[in-house]
């Protein structure tokens, strides 16, 4: 596991090489919404705030010159911008607050279509109007001077159902995502006018690195699905940044689909780190046994669970759900998925490292009897079944539970074990295996065609705030006909209301308490079988001194160095 406090010192120079299996989702920082993309973006871009490697609660001011100033009862957020930060060539000029405003605005345009802007920044006045083409900019973002940017939020009654105050916390949290990294409008607008925007392959940087480009700004260092080359940004000044930027260049090689080749390449090679390439299980066990420093694990800030459709008979009966959870052998599931190293067995829904985790019971859980035994407890299950009206302690009804899982690999094993565990309780089941994309977009994300059980779902935080975990997934107000992520379709009034309150709580300690309470409430509803809080497994060559960014739970390119 990654140390609580890492040694951030390092030697300057050298080229770091990184192996990826896949590509960035979007090379455009305004659209990026994925761990690998973030890894690059946080090294090349300076959002208003960002996460220093060991920081887990409060983001560090980056482009911003200090913590945000909240006024007007939470309706106004003012951020000052640091002086002396310039764009990389070919733009070169100093960054102003207008560049941040434009960056956020373009995220709402259909040509960029940022994936989280609407969810977290949609509460800024005028954001929706821009999004649906009723305005040309976001009226709620103002730039009184070149170093100041002000965010004005909508009145509470304009917010999603249940939110009773200003959604300040969500906005501030999202300002630490790459979307708030400045984009020079005069340069970017012609690219953004295209559908979709081509700014991504012409982007300019503010961070210590930039994607290698030519005089016109074409990112020649990016070959989609093949490679990505980062070089030093000549306009970056170390004095303005907390980043160290030890290595001179970062060479990313994509398409390393086979971990049993890529992992040995990293472990036996020089200057290499893995991006989304982890060790295959046999190798992982060896590394763990040796306590090899070449493997560094970090909590992902995510949870995997098996969603039970609470609208589907008999899963609409709370006691039946509790019985299912009680009977389920989560230990077995984890073993099949790679054992202890993949993460701790989940006992509730807020993952470790996120405020509220400890208050909700930490690793031990909230104390409910139906999640007490990780290996499952048939007697507890039987008792709930009896309460549900099945005196034999097993399900004797005629309903067939459809399970739609992901085919291939561990996901398929998870789906199969789910089926097997349900049958253990007397359920009749029907297992359908499809691709992961299909499982989400055609089945589990669409309430109309949602099966009884979605065994291969999970959620990853957007930032270190429990609302980014619990609201999209368990708030009944968020059940939508398409792209739904409340897979259990849990809709409990008290939970929805508690979330509305917690979302506007600006004191982080009391927010943590509130979210923990909500976590307990959700757990009591047994809407899903939480089974693992994932770790990421990060590997490096012997001569690499890797530093983990805990927020992104992967290597921090701005701090990793070569020995």
């Amino acid at each position: 596991m990654v140390a609580a406090t890492q040694d951030l010192s390092g030697k300057k120079g050298g080229t770091l090489k990184m192996l990826w299996s896949s590509d960035v989702d979007y090379i455009d920082p305004g659209a990026a919404y994925y761990q690998l993309s973030y890894m690059v973006d946080y090294a090349t871009q300076r959002p208003l705030y960002s996460w220093a490697p060991d920081e887990e609660t409060t983001p560090t001011p980056d482009l911003a010159d200090g913590q945000p100033e909240v006024s007007n009862g939470g309706a106004t957020i003012t951020v000052k911008i640091r002086q002396g930060i310039n764009f990389s060539p070919p733009v070169n000029r100093a960054v102003t607050s207008a560049d941040v405003k434009y960056a956020i605005e373009r995220g709402f345009s259909p040509n960029v279509a940022n994936g989280y802007a609407g969810a977290y920044l949609g509460t800024i006045k005028g954001a929706e109007e821009l999004q649906f083409g009723k305005a040309k900019d976001i009226s709620g973002i103002t730039t009184p001077d070149q170093q100041t940017i002000v965010f004005n939020l909508k009145q509470p009654d304009g917010l999603p159902k249940g939110v009773t105050g200003y959604a300040t916390t969500a906005v501030i949290g999202a300002l630490a995502l790459p979307l708030s990294a400045p984009v020079p409008p005069e340069y970017a607008k012609p690219f953004d006018a295209k559908n979709p925007s081509t700014y991504g392959v012409h982007q300019v940087a503010t961070g210590p690195y930039m994607i290698k480009n030519d005089a016109e700004g074409n990112t020649v260092g990016y070959k989609p699905t093949q490679s990505l080359e980062l070089v030093r940004n000549p306009n970056w000044k170390a004095s303005t940044d907390y980043r160290k930027a030890y290595v001179d260049a970062i060479q990313i090689d994509q398409g390393n689909d086979n971990p049993s080749i890529a992992a040995p390449q990293i472990l036996q090679g020089q200057n290499l780190i893995g991006g989304d390439v982890g060790p295959p299980s046999a190798l992982l066990q060896q590394l763990l046994k040796k306590k090899s420093p070449q493997l560094v694990m970090a909590p992902s800030g995510g949870i995997r669970y098996i969603a039970l459709n609470t609208t589907f008979k008999p899963l609409n009966d709370l006691n039946v759900r509790k019985a299912v959870l009680a009977a389920f052998d989560r230990e077995l599931l984890r073993k099949v998925n790679g054992g202890k190293a993949i993460g701790d067995i989940a006992t509730h829904f807020i993952p470790p490292g996120i405020p509220g985790f400890d208050q909700a019971g930490g690793l031990d859980g909230t104390g409910v009897d139906f999640l007490k035994n990780p290996a499952g407890d048939m007697s507890v299950a039987a008792s709930y079944m009896k309460k549900a009206g099945f005196p034999s302690g097993k399900y004797t009804g005629s309903e067939v539970l459809t399970i739609v899982g992901t085919s291939g690999g561990r996901a398929q094993k998870t789906a199969e074990i789910t089926q097997n565990q349900l049958q253990k309780l007397g359920f009749k089941t029907k297992l359908q295996l499809v691709t992961q994309d299909s499982m989400y977009t055609q089945f589990c994300n669409v309430p109309k065609s949602q099966p009884a059980v979605c065994p291969n779902v999970g959620w990853l935080k957007d930032f270190n705030d429990a609302q980014t975990i619990l609201v999209p997934t368990f708030n009944g107000d968020n059940i939508v006909p398409v792209n739904n992520s409340n897979w259990p379709q849990l809709d409990v009034q008290s939970i929805n209301e508690a979330m509305g309150k917690a979302q506007v709580e600006t004191s982080s300690s009391s927010a943590g308490d509130q979210w923990a309470q909500i976590d307990r409430q959700i757990t009591d509803q047994a809407p899903a079988i939480p089974w693992v809080w994932d770790n990421t497994q990060n590997i490096q060559s012997e001569n690499v001194k890797g530093v983990i960014n805990k927020f992104n739970s992967s290597w921090d390119l701005s701090f990793t160095s070569i020995k």
Binding site: A113, G115, G118, A119, Q226, D253, Q265, T435
Partner: protein
């Protein structure tokens, strides 16, 4: 001959049209996922998803979409836009063609050379220990799964993780234009692995052909003329025995130019095969269309070339 080629070329066009229509229809009848949701991201509202669906043109009727697609290809050489990769399909495919061609051409030279060499030796030294050993090995070569052989080759000879580090490893592919020597070194293993199964197949095929041909009357005539045995085998025997090989070779080369997925995966070579595979996994219709079309194009053209070449090889065949 000219008319024949013209007619065949028309067929090529029609076939490509049908292939793309079929891909389109399959994608619509059996959608593998919803591209709009995938593009929108997990936090997008249904309105945003709808907006993206519109922007991607996915809400148009299928025929309109197909028409737009064809129009793009014929009017602008535009194969559409991959929303998954955020790049025009044409650029993406063009970027990968050199690697695919490198793999295909290099491997085919190797397998032709060794396939023919072993095939001839085996046929000439028929029933000797050498022949039996070669044919036994060939049987192994044919049945050994490429993917597995590739892995073994890497663990044995890759310059980073191999026991005897000799050749470039997975992910070491370097474009020819960048560094010919590194290009060559990085492709030795993939070429060899691909060539093994093909060479094995070709050697068995050629051996069979040549043995059969060597029993033909015209071979006896050649010998009776007083030609040396070498000339009899290499000129009279091979001329006839190689002709069917040319057909098979054309097909194989066409297939190979459409991408060699497994080899590309094992050796992490940025070729078309994996691109197609990824596109299918990610429901990237424009990309699927593009890669399917390019593969179909190579295969169909290879067929055409084979047929034309065949007319030159076998004077008895005439297309009128």
């Amino acid at each position: 001959m000219g008319r024949y080629v013209a007619r065949r070329l028309l067929w090529v066009g029609l076939l490509l049209f049908l292939v793309s229509l079929l891909t389109f229809v399959i994608f619509y009848v059996l959608p593998s996922a919803d591209p709009a949701q995938l593009r929108a991201g997990r936090r997008a509202s249904p309105e945003q998803v709808e907006a993206i669906r519109q922007r991607m043109g996915l809400d148009d009727p299928m025929l309109v979409q197909f028409w737009n697609y064809l129009k793009g290809i014929f009017a602008h050489g535009d194969f559409g836009y991959s929303y998954v990769n955020e790049q025009p399909v044409r650029e993406l495919i063009l970027a990968r063609i050199p690697a695919t061609i490198s793999v295909a051409i290099g491997a085919s030279i190797l397998w032709l050379f060794f396939g023919v060499l072993v095939g001839v030796i085996s046929a000439v030294r028929r029933r000797t220990k050498l022949d039996r050993a070669a044919m036994g090995a060939a049987l192994l070569g044919i049945s050994a799964p490429e993917y597995w052989v590739g892995l073994v080759a890497l663990y044995l000879f890759a310059d980073d993780i191999g026991l005897i580090p000799l050749f470039g490893s997975a992910g070491s592919y370097v474009p020819l234009s960048q560094d010919p020597l590194a290009w060559f070194n990085s492709l030795i293993l993939p070429w060899s692995v691909l060539a093994i199964s093909f060479a094995a197949f070709y050697s068995r095929l050629l051996r069979g052909n040549l043995i059969e041909v060597m029993g033909e009357d015209y071979i006896r005539t050649a010998r009776a003329k007083g030609l040396g045995e070498k000339r009899v085998v290499m000129r009279h025997g091979m001329r006839a025995a190689l002709t069917p090989i040319v057909t098979v070779f054309g097909m194989d080369l066409g297939l190979m130019l459409g991408g060699a997925v497994l080899i590309e995966v094992v050796f992490n070579i940025p070729g078309i095969g994996r691109q197609a595979y990824d596109a299918i996994l990610r429901a990237d219709l424009p990309m699927i269309q593009g890669t399917v079309l390019i593969s179909a194009f190579f295969i169909i053209v290879a067929n055409l070339v084979v047929d034309i070449v065949y007319a030159f090889l076998d004077p008895r065949v005439r297309y009128d």
